[in-house]
């Protein structure tokens, strides 16, 4: 149990009467890469947002590194530091330069001195191949560049788990590749990743497991190879045939 990074048991969530997540069970090992897919509205975002407490749930349990995620603020705070997230719409801070976007949290939360934070931030910008843009503002970058900055910003907090919520679906097609390349590099580093995406090439290359969700339930869970070439569930087959066309 303790070697599992994330442990979700019988998780249920409602929005008023609407049952969004139904009996979700999922364990994620350290360093595992998981791709989540499923039709729109199936609850993918809601599920991964529960992991860093952007959403609350009403029933079941969720442990991150053995720490239970409940209303205990101490636990929430600790988990927030360990779990990074990359959003569909980047959510960079538009009034701060790229470098300031990156060093803010390390300085405030990890109490890093400015110089160390800057050095580290430059390394991550180097890694996402965008170090030359450090002093620009988010508004001056392309979508693909923004998303790479957002990834670097998450990494600056040295999270053990990184969540991605459709990181490439707001991008023009020609920028998708540059972001996926960075994510592939990242996957090789051994960080635990959960990624909501419909990029099947990426899933095949990187994922240890692919999870299919529909109507708030996990319907199928398999290795990418099995998942794509030999889907079991009818809904999965239907879904896969749709996204291929």
């Amino acid at each position: 149990m303790s070697e599992n990074m994330i442990e979700i048991n019988d998780l249920n969530k409602w929005y008023d009467d609407f049952h969004v997540l139904k009996d979700i069970n999922l364990s994620v090992r350290k360093g595992e890469k998981i791709v989540v897919c499923g039709p729109s509205g199936s609850g993918k975002s809601t599920m991964i947002r529960c992991i860093n407490r952007l959403e609350e749930f009403q029933k079941g349990s969720l442990h991150v590194e053995g720490i239970p995620l409940n209303s205990d603020l101490k636990n929430i705070e600790q988990i927030r530091k360990e779990v990074g997230m990359v959003f569909q719409h980047f959510n960079l801070f538009p009034h701060l330069s790229i470098i300031d976007n990156l060093i803010l949290a390390p300085m405030r939360v990890r109490k890093m001195p400015k110089k160390d934070a800057t050095d580290m931030a430059m390394q991550y910008l180097e890694m996402v191949k965008i170090a030359d843009q450090a002093h620009k503002f988010p508004g001056q970058l392309s979508g693909g560049q923004k998303q790479r900055v957002a990834i670097a910003r998450s990494l600056c907090m040295k999270p053990k788990i990184l969540l991605f919520d459709e990181p490439t679906s707001a991008l023009d097609p020609e920028m998708v590749k540059e972001v996926l390349e960075v994510m592939v590099d990242l996957a090789k580093e051994g960080i635990t990743m959960i990624c909501v995406t419909h990029e099947m090439g990426f899933a095949r290359e990187v994922a240890d497991r692919v999870i299919f969700m529909d109507a708030g339930q996990i319907l199928e869970e398999n290795t990418p190879h099995e998942f794509f070439d030999n889907p079991q569930n009818e809904r999965t087959k239907e879904f896969l045939s749709q996204i291929i066309n």
């Binding site: 927030r80 959510n91 009034h95």
Partner: protein
């Protein structure tokens, strides 16, 4: 195309501009001619009043006879209008205080200077301003019932704006708080303050408030007026800032949350800086409004710029030159308000260029 035009001589360019913007259709030409004639009439009247019929020397009777702008009146009264009852031999003091204030404001206008050093500079400036105005430490004491005119107006307005702003931010955050108590306090405060005119707040601070104080406790009148202004304006600032806060997308809070930032850091470094940039125009609007509203302190017998002007009109020797006096103070008010307006436009442009 634009390059071609810009190479031509000025008059030719002007003619092209006229033709394009004022005389492009027959109807527009007619409207333009009427408006230009109208504007010309106004300018001509003003010009005649000030420069042709205007009187530069002599007494009140010369002025009355000529019927033009009476400069001798201004020469005679400017000292009182600007400085009020401040003692005669000491006028260099409010002058220096004003220069320090304006200089510090001027220095503060570059966003890249908004750091800790600026806060120190302001504390030093504030100290010198109050020392010069009030005396002590080697200067003759001048009690603040003698302060008046422009320095008083500038002090009331600057301190009013500078203090009501953070208070407004706090009130706005409280109003958006999930804690019912904080929220209710803020709502009640803002609604009550916005529901009454500034005059009545000033009046209460000056007339009613002392009634509640124990016998013998004396609370400075100027300070009371200043506090009344701050409390009043902060309610308006709060609503302006709240507008900015609610226009920040949810994603910004979520990003801050996932980076582990605390509520305080999120607000201080992410939400508030963006919110106040968005509401620069209404903020400056409120500031300009309050700058002019400081003139209401005349009802509690403080001699701000407008009150010194009114008082100067009561001199029996110089009765009947109110137009001159009001044009004069009007210009002073205009210079300050217009600078604020220009400054806000510049800030907006500057932030807009980099950050959007």
């Amino acid at each position: 195309m634009t390059e071609l035009i810009s190479k031509k001589p000025f008059f030719e360019r002007f003619a092209i501009w006229l033709k394009k913007n004022l005389f492009n259709t027959p109807t527009n030409s007619v409207i333009s001619i009427f408006l230009l004639a109208f504007i010309w009439k106004g300018i001509e009247g003003l010009f005649t009043w000030i420069f042709i019929k205007g009187v530069w020397s002599g007494g009140a009777s010369v002025c009355r006879e000529a019927g033009g702008f009476c400069f001798p009146f201004l020469f005679e009264k400017t000292r009182f209008i600007i400085f009020g009852f401040y003692p005669d031999g000491q006028l260099w003091r409010p002058t220096c205080a004003m220069l320090i204030l304006i200089g510090t404001l001027f220095y503060s206008k570059e966003p890249n200077r908004w750091n800790k050093k600026l806060a120190y500079l302001w504390s030093i400036s504030t100290f010198f301003i109050f020392w010069l105005m009030g005396g002590g430490l080697g200067l003759t004491e001048v009690t603040n019932d003698k302060w008046g005119g422009l320095p008083l107006t500038l002090l009331l307005a600057t301190i009013g704006i500078v203090c009501s702003y953070p208070l407004g931010i706090v009130l706005a955050l409280m109003r958006r708080s999930k804690l019912k108590v904080l929220k209710s306090i803020s709502v009640v405060y803002i609604e009550i303050i916005r529901g009454v005119p500034l005059i009545s707040v000033l009046f209460m601070s000056s007339v009613m408030f002392p009634l509640f104080l124990p016998e013998g406790v004396n609370f400075d009148k100027l300070l009371r007026a200043q506090i009344a202004i701050i409390l009043f304006v902060s309610a308006y600032m709060a609503e302006v800032i709240r507008g900015g806060l609610s226009s920040i997308p949810k994603g910004q809070y979520e990003a801050a949350h996932t980076l582990g930032l605390s509520y305080f850091d999120t607000m201080r470094s992410i939400i508030i800086p963006q919110a106040i940039r968005i509401v620069i125009p209404p903020t400056v609007n409120t500031a300009i409004g309050m700058f002019k509203d400081t003139s209401l302190v005349l009802i509690i017998a403080l001699f701000d710029l407008l009150n010194t002007t009114k008082t100067s009109l009561r001199d029996p020797e110089w009765l009947g030159f109110s137009l001159e006096a009001y044009v004069f103070v009007g210009l002073i008010y205009f210079v300050f308000c217009f600078s604020m307006s220009k400054y806000s436009q510049r800030l907006e442009r500057e932030f807009g260029m980099k950050e959007r």
